[in-house]
């Protein structure tokens, strides 16, 4: 079994156009999340949890997804730090603001769920839950259907390092590697070093959590989650392998957590953490691809966009209380 090296880095293989597109989505995701934090601080939402610091990993993932509905496309079992992925897939920032505001126009849950809890059936994004591990138990189900159907669709499961402590992570490893029934599953661990307030070093024997996949005969690897190009290439390699071999892969990305766990812990900027947007802009500038002024222009474009979206959302209606009775059960088909 050939595994990826512990740190994968194959920079320089992305086109200039792709690099700039990745940067654009990273800025979009970061500025959207920062607006969400301002909204919760301003009393325009009840709770924030999100992904600032994970853009370099989440955006490439979103760009590499085979987006669509049904088993021929990829399924996404995401956790609540997946806004860069969903935005890179084409979600509109205003819809995240709507979910933060809990408006009736929130397309993901109509005011029922926390922000960043997506449910997008036309893109196979199954409902995101506040649980940190259940997606690992559910993902093999969609992958089982995909395996049976054939094609190249795969099931992507994201989670954090803390979630791997739950038994569902082992469930996923086991169900994905049953002899002769290996599943097209991409297990992704975004390792930010914390479980809420507890350092991973206090609760996990190893920082290299992907290595748990090894005894199951699963390919696995680790990548610098602050390097978008390395992430893109590592994800592409893993996904190509799964699409071709119809077998699982476990990839760990070591990411930053720029604003702490959630609004419950203050959501303050932690300056000691690496900032992948700042780092990538410096790199693109050094490569002569993006000047400081051009980078600022990208930020300004999204600032204007988000400001207008924010204003619009504040004027949108809140759900009616009677809506709680909607969608408890799907309508039965006619007999």
């Amino acid at each position: 079994m050939v595994n990826m090296p512990r740190t994968t880095k194959k920079a320089g293989k992305l086109s200039d156009e792709l690099k700039l597109r990745i940067h654009d989505y990273m800025v979009q995701a970061r500025m959207t999340e920062e607006l969400l934090i301002r909204m919760v601080r301003g009393g325009q939402g009840y709770f924030w949890i999100g992904a600032p610091g994970e853009e370099a990993f989440g955006v490439p993932l979103g760009l590499l997804v085979d987006k669509g509905e049904g088993p021929e496309h990829d399924y996404l079992h995401l956790h609540y730090r997946s806004s860069p992925t969903v935005l890179a897939m084409g979600a509109q920032p205003i819809d995240l603001l709507r979910q933060m505001r809990s408006t009736a126009t929130d397309p993901y849950s109509r005011g029922r769920n926390f922000v960043n809890h997506f449910a997008i059936k036309e893109w196979n994004v199954v409902p995101v839950t506040p649980t940190i591990e259940t997606q690992y138990a559910v993902g093999p189900g969609t992958a089982w259907v995909q395996k049976r159907q054939g094609g190249t669709g795969l099931s992507i499961i994201t989670g954090g390092d803390a979630g791997t402590a739950e038994g569902d992570f082992a469930t996923c490893l086991n169900w994905s590697t049953r002899p002769g029934q290996e599943l097209p599953v991409l297990i992704l661990i975004a390792h930010n070093g914390y479980g809420i307030s507890t350092r991973a070093a206090q609760t996990q024997a190893t920082p290299h959590l992907h290595e748990r996949a090894g005894p199951f005969g699963m390919r696995h690897g680790e990548v610098d989650g602050n390097d978008p190009e390395a992430c893109y290439l590592a994800l592409q390699e893993a996904m190509d392998y799964i699409r071709k071999e119809r077998k699982p892969f476990c990839l760990q990305a070591n990411v930053s957590r720029l604003y702490g766990h959630s609004s419950s812990s203050g959501a303050q900027l932690i300056r000691e953490e690496r900032d992948c947007v700042v780092e990538y802009e410096a790199r693109l500038e050094a490569e002569g691809l993006l000047s400081k002024q051009e980078a600022l222009a990208v930020h300004e474009r999204w600032r204007v966009h988000l400001k207008a979206a924010h204003q619009q959302v504040l004027e949108e209606p809140m759900p009616d209380g009677a809506d709680i009775w909607q969608h408890i059960f799907a309508m039965a088909p006619e007999v």
């Binding site: 049904g70 997008i120 189900g141 969609t142 089982w144 469930t171 969608h327 059960f329 039965a332 007999v335």
Partner: protein
């Protein structure tokens, strides 16, 4: 006549052929065993899962998300308790996604006492299951209705919890399933796997036909005026037998089989209670926070002033488990004499 386990098997076969069932899976569900109670022998979509209940429920949810129609078995309901959060997700996915996702899945699990299952194979689950919104919950009490309830469950676009009373799984029915051979021996030869090597065996399925028991509709099993007796699962036939026994003493009772625990058929219950003015609810779950308490509360909401006597719940003893010795099991869950005594007392109370 098919027994209840065979009726489930025939229903699942019908589901595979006509209702789009894609996966029937769980621990020992596939060959060679075909389920510890044989309910899944010979089914073409049956397969064996790891001994991992969370994986079973999670995978079923994933299959349903991806357009499949899974039937997941938890071998004994005693093993389902570590899956509560996943069951919650199954039940709330449609609601939390504002209607975007449907979860057409059935979870089937044997419940209750009656097979000397001791502490960890005798639990009831309906009280906890009914506390997980978004699920429909059924429990049959005879083979024909086990068949009909399963077909309705398989046609549902929502998660359905199919609780199979394990004490009744070997009990034969009184009515033929449509398409079932009238000769019991023939049926057994056709669909029962042989003992020993089964590697070359395949079932010869009878051409069973559609027969559904609509979800949310109770059945009046016995009709009378002295009191209303409401039950389901293992205790239902005991209530019917007790009613037949008491009818010889001149006391007649309405005996209602709920069949579907959620949603409740309140109309049938209210109609009966308004006629009799007295109600006894019988089940074998532990009595504290018992599903029967909920049924009583719903009835009191609308029928309080129709009561002629205090309503009664006869349920299992509130003890940590059901002991293995028959004397202990007998003392833990209602038996026919207990039910008959409760009915006689209720019917005799002064208004």
């Amino acid at each position: 006549m098919a027994n209840l386990a065979q009726a489930i098997r025939l229903a699942l076969h019908y589901g595979e052929e006509h209702l789009g069932v894609t996966d029937i899976f769980g621990e020992d569900v596939g060959p060679p065993l075909g389920g510890v109670f044989t309910a899944t022998q010979g089914l073409k979509t049956a397969w064996n899962a790891p001994l991992d209940e969370r994986g079973i429920i999670g995978t079923a949810l994933g299959i349903a998300y991806a357009g499949g129609k899974p039937v997941a078995e938890i071998q004994f309901c005693d093993y389902i308790f570590n899956c509560i959060d996943l069951l919650k997700l199954c039940g709330n996915a449609h609601w939390s996604s504002a209607g975007a996702y449907r979860v057409p899945m059935v979870v089937m699990t044997p419940v209750g006492s009656g097979i000397h299952g001791s502490i960890y194979h005798s639990h009831s689950f309906e009280s906890i299951a009914s506390h997980i919104p978004g699920w429909k919950i059924v429990m049959p009490s005879n083979p024909l209705e086990a068949y009909g309830l399963m077909l309705s469950a398989l046609a549902e676009p929502n998660p359905v919890m199919y609780l199979a009373p394990k004490a009744l799984l070997r009990v034969k029915g009184e009515d033929l399933i449509p398409g079932e051979p009238s000769d019991e021996k023939s049926l057994n030869q056709m669909i029962n796997a042989p003992l020993g090597d089964r590697s070359g065996w395949a079932p010869k399925w009878p051409k069973v036909e559609a027969f559904t028991v609509p979800l949310g509709v109770a059945r009046l099993c016995r009709e009378g005026k002295r009191a209303t007796v409401i039950s389901y699962g293992r205790t239902l036939p005991l209530c019917v037998a007790a009613a037949d026994e008491l009818s010889k003493e001149g006391m007649d009772f309405d005996v209602i089989d709920l069949r579907t625990l959620y949603p409740l058929d309140m109309e049938t219950l209210q109609r009966s209670l308004r006629k009799t003015g007295r109600v006894l609810i019988v089940n074998e779950d532990t009595e504290v926070t018992n599903f029967g308490e909920h049924v009583l509360r719903r009835l009191l909401d609308t029928c309080f002033y129709d009561l002629e006597a205090a309503p009664v719940l006869l349920a299992g003893a509130d003890v940590p488990g059901i002991g293995l010795a028959w004397e202990l099991e007998r003392a833990s869950v209602p038996q026919q004499p207990d039910i008959a005594a409760a009915m006689r007392k209720l019917a005799s109370e002064k208004a």
